[in-house]
Amino acid sequence: MQGDSSPRSMLTESKEDNLVLSSEDSSCPDESELELGLGLSLSHPRLKSQPPPTTQYARILTAMDFSSSASSSASSSSPNATAGTKRAADSLVASNGPSQVVGWPPLRAYRMNSFNNNHSKSPATEAKGNQTAARKATDNGSNKNNSIAKEEAHIRRSLFVKVNMDGTPIGRKVDLSAHGSYENLARALEDMFNEPATKGLNGEDRGIVVGAKKRHLNLLDESSNFVLTYEDKEGDWMLVGDVPWDMFLNSVRRLRIMRTSEANGLAPRLEEKKSRLRS
């Protein structure tokens, strides 16, 4: 049908205009056109661990997969520390996982932004599996922040876990990938749970506060009233600090700041677990 004038060309220019402006109502209201931004990882604390269904997908990493260094240098500027090793394992797998492809899964950036606003953005690391040249934010300044955010959206890794403290009704969340070490994490948690309750806009104290006075948690200090513990992916509660940081990141599901009096039972369990692993 090459060269046939399409039936439309027989009509006047007005028809052409009409063609272009013709009914293109989306069949749903605008709101329903919304799609997602590139999503952020939210570590859901109550998920049970489950082996991947087939070998095609990422396998659960063991201690063998991690580099021997305790990676104390792993700070917010190199989230690759954890993610990188996981990616290394993934690259052995035939197909690309969703995180290695630009713009996939098809989610909009704003979703990521809605979770990120409280954390300083980590600088972009190398683009992963990106066939197109890295897009620099060379446009007019007003879009810079979000271009970078979008760029980072598919390379940033976060690991939010819930933190509860005995005696405090409301739990908090902490992004573990923003801390490079146990000391860093402990300090952040101490700050978090030392604050008075939610401040009003004018800074006034509000709401019930469990313990308005500052507590010195000293979480890593054995003499403190509280210890920091975590639930690992097998559902066991462990003392924080025993394993290399990377390994901890890989197995932690949630944190609990426990009263020392209650934590006494942990130590023998830890030993028990270790001996189980050894045998």
Partner: protein
């Protein structure tokens, strides 16, 4: 009616069979037509009707801003009060289009200032909008009422400040999911104290704190507030105060939905929600926890749209909430609710028409389950009226999809995203062709389809053969050869938008649609097998199409990495950046 055209009334003798309406009457009648489809049909009847229609039209919808120019638009339609414009290709939402691609609103505004001085409404999607443009808008149109920006970029909160300061008659300010530079929340304080006309305010996706006193005063003095969607910075206690001022709200977007509250504050919040009898849309709900959801229950009776896509609820929490939402038509959730949550949906929401399940952890960074085929089936069993689904999952089977569409044959929008590219049916290890085959065979009303998983050309054979009402098709990592795309182009008579990425379709496929593209809005193909020669050939054969190639540097020069083809009466773009080659 303004701007009437006078026309001589022809003599009506007996020999004249057809009576002619005076223009005024015809225009009056036609002004009652709202649907664009109807208006298009009307304008084709004859020249008189074409003219009457163009004079009586007050709202225009332009699905591709480059398909027409502002000059052509204003010449044809002199009396427009409301403009809806869409700009960039949809895949720009996923970073597949470089920044500075175009779709800048400014050149339109310059023309509108002269030709549509009485402009009232502007709704933009995927356009570039600068602060200068927003300021220009706010100063040039004294009757301006409604601004809606969805997935736009290029502006900051300073532009919003200009709108708030200068638009004295503003009724609607809807800022959604934009690439906005959020400098501060001060813009909200720019609404003058004398300003009382606001009815719709949505700033949910902005980050910065706003001055709550200013917001509270604004809400209390604007008596016609219908829609209020605040951002995360607004606390529960603040929300309670807003609700007290505006119990008549119809659409509410909360702020952060967890906080340490005293018993009294909690009870005041409950009361506030209890007094909101008209809420039918609820969103926001960041960090909503089981502890606070119960305050919503009294307001949920009339709820038709619930957006929980920012809340990491689990299945139990969702179930407890849904018990109170029997009238729900639309539900958006995160996949943290898992299959169990979706079973609750099937149990408690028999009137459900739309479901969207988003992934909380799309990059598989934690230990994730999300939803599976079981949840999908559960919803379809309990919700026979389901016609719109967007479902992100990590596993799916052909059998499950077949069951789903058997339960719900009225799908109009079926968007399934199996998140790992090329993933087969996890039980049989076969491609997912039969799943989408079932969809197109069973759902005869299907308008929009997005496919995923391991797919061969068979999927597209089915689509071309059965999807006779299909208008939009999204393809990624799918197909085996040119034949697949050809089937679709030859078989789907109502196809308007085709967007393809990372699929093995080449020049033969592209060119098989030669005759088709003029009846479509646009075609996007990225990272397929199209070459520059193929694209050039298309451009040469079809001069009324714009064939554009986005060239990334340093890549093999014979491949056409990203091809965007669209019909236009405005000719080739005059504002194309260097990386967009117009062939």
């Amino acid at each position: 009616m303004e701007c009437k055209r006078k026309k001589e009334w022809p003599e009506s003798n007996d020999s004249n069979r057809a009576t002619t309406f005076p223009d005024e009457v015809l225009e009056r009648v036609l002004s009652l037509l709202k649907s664009h489809k109807d208006r298009s049909s009307v304008s084709l009847v004859c020249k008189d009707w074409y003219n009457a229609e163009r004079w009586s039209r007050s709202h225009v919808f332009i699905g591709n801003c480059y398909s027409v120019s502002p000059e052509i638009l204003t010449r044809r339609f002199p009396n427009i009060r409301s403009v809806t414009l869409k700009g960039k290709p949809r895949f720009s939402d996923f970073n597949l289009v470089p920044p500075n691609w175009g779709a800048d609103i400014h050149s339109w505004l310059m023309v509108f200032e002269k030709k549509y001085p009485l402009l009232q409404e502007l709704r933009l999607k995927r356009m570039t909008v600068t602060d200068e443009s927003l300021e220009f808008l706010s100063l040039s149109f004294p009757n301006f009422k409604a601004l809606s920006l969805l997935s736009c970029d290029g502006f900051s909160t300073d532009g919003l400040a200009a709108i708030a300061t200068n638009c004295k008659n503003l009724t609607e300010l809807d800022i959604q999911e934009n690439g906005i530079e959020d400098r501060s929340g001060n813009w909200l304080s720019c609404f003058p104290e004398s300003f009382t006309s606001l009815e719709v305010l949505n700033f949910a996706n902005l980050q910065s704190d706003v001055n709550f006193d200013a917001l509270e005063r604004l809400v209390s003095r604007c008596k016609s507030f219908k829609t209020l969607k605040v951002n995360k910075s607004i606390t529960l206690e603040q929300l309670q105060r807003l609700l007290v001022h505006a119990p008549q709200l119809v659409e509410l977007g909360t702020g952060t939905f967890s906080e340490e509250l005293t018993a009294q504050q909690y009870s005041e919040l409950e009361t506030a929600f209890n007094n909101c009898k008209n809420i039918h849309t609820l969103s926001g709900l960041w960090e909503a926890t089981a502890q606070f959801l119960p305050v919503l229950y009294p307001a949920c009776t009339n709820l038709t749209f619930l957006n929980l896509s920012y809340s990491t609820l689990d299945g139990d929490d969702l179930a407890k909430l849904l018990v109170h939402c029997p009238n729900l038509r639309r539900l958006w959730v995160l996949d943290t609710v898992e299959d169990k949550g979706l079973e609750a949906v099937g149990s408690y929401c028999p009137l459900l028409e739309e479901l969207r399940v988003f992934p909380a952890d799309p990059f598989d960074e934690g230990i994730v389950h999300g939803v599976t085929e079981a949840g999908f089936i559960a919803v379809s069993s309990g919700c026979p009226r389901l016609h719109y689904v967007l479902y992100f999952c990590r596993q799916m089977t052909n059998a499950a999809v077949a069951t789903v569409v058997q339960n719900c044959p009225d799908f109009t929008h079926f968007r399934l995203c199996i998140m790992n590219p090329h993933q087969p049916d996890y039980q049989t290890d076969e491609p997912m062709d039969e799943a989408f085959g079932a969809v197109v065979k069973t759902c005869t009303k299907l308008q929009r389809l997005a496919v995923s998983g391991l797919l061969t050309d068979l999927t597209f054979e089915y689509t071309g053969k059965y999807a006779k009402n299909l208008e939009t098709l999204s393809v990624a990592f799918a197909g085996s050869s040119d034949w697949g795309m050809q089937c679709v182009l030859e078989g789907c008579p109502k196809l308007r938008k085709l967007e393809i990425r990372d699929s093995p379709f080449g020049n033969a496929a592209l060119l098989s649609g030669l005759e088709k593209y003029e009846s479509m809005r646009s075609l996007w193909m990225s990272d397929c097998n199209v070459t520059m020669n193929g694209a050039r050939y298309l451009a040469k054969e079809m001069p009324r199409l714009n064939v554009e190639v986005i060239k990334e540097e340093g890549i093999d020069n014979s491949k056409a990495d990203k091809v965007y083809v669209y019909r236009s009466v405005a000719g080739p773009r005059r504002d194309a950046p260097p990386f967009v080659l117009t062939l």
